[in-house]
């Protein structure tokens, strides 16, 4: 406990530094701005701004605080377009449109927006508190992990990814494999042998992480926007004066608490982020509401709005836990943050909390501040963000390309990479069109070298004996969990079907 308190003290001294404090606020504001733009989700926002944040040459903790603020803000901002336009910015916002948009249609847009702000605040804060308590604990367990344990952990991460993300397990797995394969391009660090470089000097160092992220997310999004282009601007509902009452929040307290815990736990699971969390929380609330009230879900029930929102923000915080303590990101967006850490030569993992407390704890502290900042920014300024929704798509689309080009050129400074991101954008658009989710690809790409190196180290230790992978208890538990996470949903759905058939 003492260690946590002194860690928090370190963290707040970093986060309350006037410059960093300003970055949290700027990040939250920018993030909300980007999230509020229709069609641009948090992952695209962070992907597009990451190279620029890197190019500003801030110290790593400041840059990371800025990015985390953008990430948090974008999760928030995406909800504004869900509620007012019925256009979800990303997969996790889909649940919010179900009840949020009907409320706005009924003339309760102000109430819907303020409810979501409060629910998100509570969810986010609970997640940060849990993270403060359990993060260092998990880190201290993970310090003892051997390479073989890490291999098991990766298997678990990819298993939960395959089972819980996306529509098709095989496609998600294939996406992760594509990411892993992309990561093998370049010189093998252990032996100095070039792999898949085809004699092209630009490929010797491997494909830059930023290029993959901006290409697969930013540029693919742009092509998607061109495809979806609707004539004229979308019509936004007006923000009225209705507002959430304290009595509403008190009525919602159990909903918000339950959903926050659900969200946090799902967020911590490696590979599964906010989209799964919000769907599970919504489903749980609907089931608990009883058959009478369940009918009103989807027609503007305030519980149906608060539940996915609290879960979503709790998951966003929860996803940070495995990223910081194990070096394994809990979602696509945290995979990008992990890549950002690696670019600053910071290796996230169990030692991060002790070796670089200013980064780990600074980030945690900035999340406390970010939560408050978002509430303060969002309640009064929501009208301003709502006006952004009417930015015509024909200006938004070229803007994404220009931002992506600025970002890549300033970091890599090589015009060939501008072609590469465009090509990856086309590839990413095809993947998206064929219902592959892109988060696994980026997760595979980020984790590729970690996975390979641990496997090779483990086998070096055992002298080539593969049995080392299943030799100790920790690994076996992780493999059992991996097995359970893949087969439990299949088994549960079979059982549900049989029960339905029996009735």
């Amino acid at each position: 406990m003492d260690a946590i308190l002194s860690g928090l003290a370190t963290g707040f001294s970093v986060a309350l530094d006037p410059f960093n404090l300003m970055l949290v606020l700027v990040g939250c504001f920018l993030g909300t701005l980007i999230g509020a733009l229709p069609g641009l989700g948090p992952i695209n926002g962070v992907a597009n701004l990451l190279p620029i944040a890197y190019g500003l040459k801030f110290p790593p903790e400041s840059a990371l605080i800025l990015l985390a603020g953008i990430y948090y803000g974008a999760e928030y901002g995406g909800r504004i377009s869900s509620i007012l336009l019925n256009v979800p910015g990303d997969a996790s916002a889909v649940m919010t449109t179900l009840d949020g948009h009907p409320m706005a249609l009924r003339g309760e847009a102000g109430k819907a927006l303020s409810t979501f702000a409060v629910a998100s605040f509570i969810g986010g804060t609970i997640a940060v508190v849990l993270m403060t308590l359990f993060g260092p604990l998990l880190a201290s367990v993970a310090v003892g992990f051997s390479p073989a344990n890490y291999v098991a952990l990766m298997v678990f991460a990819f298993a939960s990814l395959a089972s819980l993300v996306g529509k098709s397990t095989v496609k998600t797995l294939l996406g992760a494999l594509i990411g892993l394969m992309l990561a093998t391009i370049g010189i093998d660090a252990n032996t100095g042998v070039p792999r898949y470089t085809f004699g092209i000097p630009d490929l010797l160092a491997g494909i830059d992480f930023l290029i993959v992220v901006v290409g697969l997310f930013g540029m693919a999004e742009l092509i998607h926007l061109v495809e979806q282009q609707v004539k004229g601007t979308l019509k936004s509902l007006p923000v009225d004066k209705s507002f959430v009452q304290v009595s509403d929040i008190i009525k919602l307290r159990w909903t918000i608490l339950r959903s926050s815990f659900i969200g946090f736990i799902i967020g911590v699971l490696p590979g599964t982020g906010a989209s799964v969390a919000s769907a599970v929380a919504y489903g749980t609330e609907k089931r608990l509401a009883g058959p009478e009230e369940a009918k009103s879900f989807g027609t503007g029930n305030i519980r149906g709005l608060a539940a996915p929102e609290a879960a979503n923000n709790a998951a966003a915080g929860g996803a940070m836990v495995p990223m910081l303590t194990l070096g394994i990101p809990g979602s696509g967006t945290t995979a990008i943050l992990l890549g950002a850490l690696l670019m600053f030569n910071v290796q996230p993992g169990p030692l991060l909390f002790t070796q670089k407390p200013e980064i780990a704890w600074g980030l945690v502290a900035s999340m406390y501040i970010g939560n408050v900042a978002l509430l303060v920014i969002n309640l009064p300024l929501v009208g301003l963000f709502a006006r952004l929704l009417t930015i015509p798509q024909h200006y938004l689309t070229p803007l994404i390309a220009i931002l992506a080009f600025i970002g890549i050129y300033t970091i890599v400074g090589n015009p060939h990479d501008l072609f590469l991101i465009t090509a990856l954008g086309i590839f990413g658009w095809f993947l998206r069109k064929l219902e592959f989710s892109l988060a696994p690809v980026i997760l595979g790409f980020v984790l590729g070298s970690l996975f390979e190196n641990n496997l090779r180290q483990a086998l070096s230790i055992s002298g080539g004996d593969w049995a080392i992978l299943t030799e100790d208890g920790t690994s076996i538990v992780l493999y059992i969990l991996a097995f359970a996470v893949v087969f439990a949903p299949i088994w549960l759905s079979r059982r549900a079907r049989r029960a339905a058939a029996a009735q």
Binding site: L174, M219, Y395, F405
Partner: protein, 155 residues
Amino acid sequence: MADRLFASFLLIVTLAYAYIAWTLIEAPFQYDPLGPESWPRILAAAAIPCILYVFWRPDAEPFAVTKYTWFRIAVMVVLLFAYAELYEPLGFIISTILFGTIVALSLGAPRFGALAFGVGIGVFGYLLCVTLMGLNLPEGDIVEAAIEIFNGGAE
């Protein structure tokens, strides 16, 4: 159908990937049991069954993209490649003005609005990034040459 086409494309790439892993990659000498070729072999061995499964059971919606949409996407891609090609020779300001204006126009912005958008982003974007944030953006070979001639002529 689209799923199968894409799966065949992936299969060809993965087979090439596997071929390289099995024949071309080898370390001249190594002490570790797993060399640089092992990991790509494992990945290829895992990917091929997945691809075959997608091939066997495609599940994506039919690829409902109209000819007109294909055309617009193709135009966009050509514009992006042109933007990338001209980025350094013309410099950020000119290439961005051109790109921003043309894309906005092609997506249906009013003529004057598109021009204002392009010029605004090109000029203010450059000032903001280079002067305020200290980022490195191309000034442009042509612009540099023009400035040189201008300076040379003034002397």
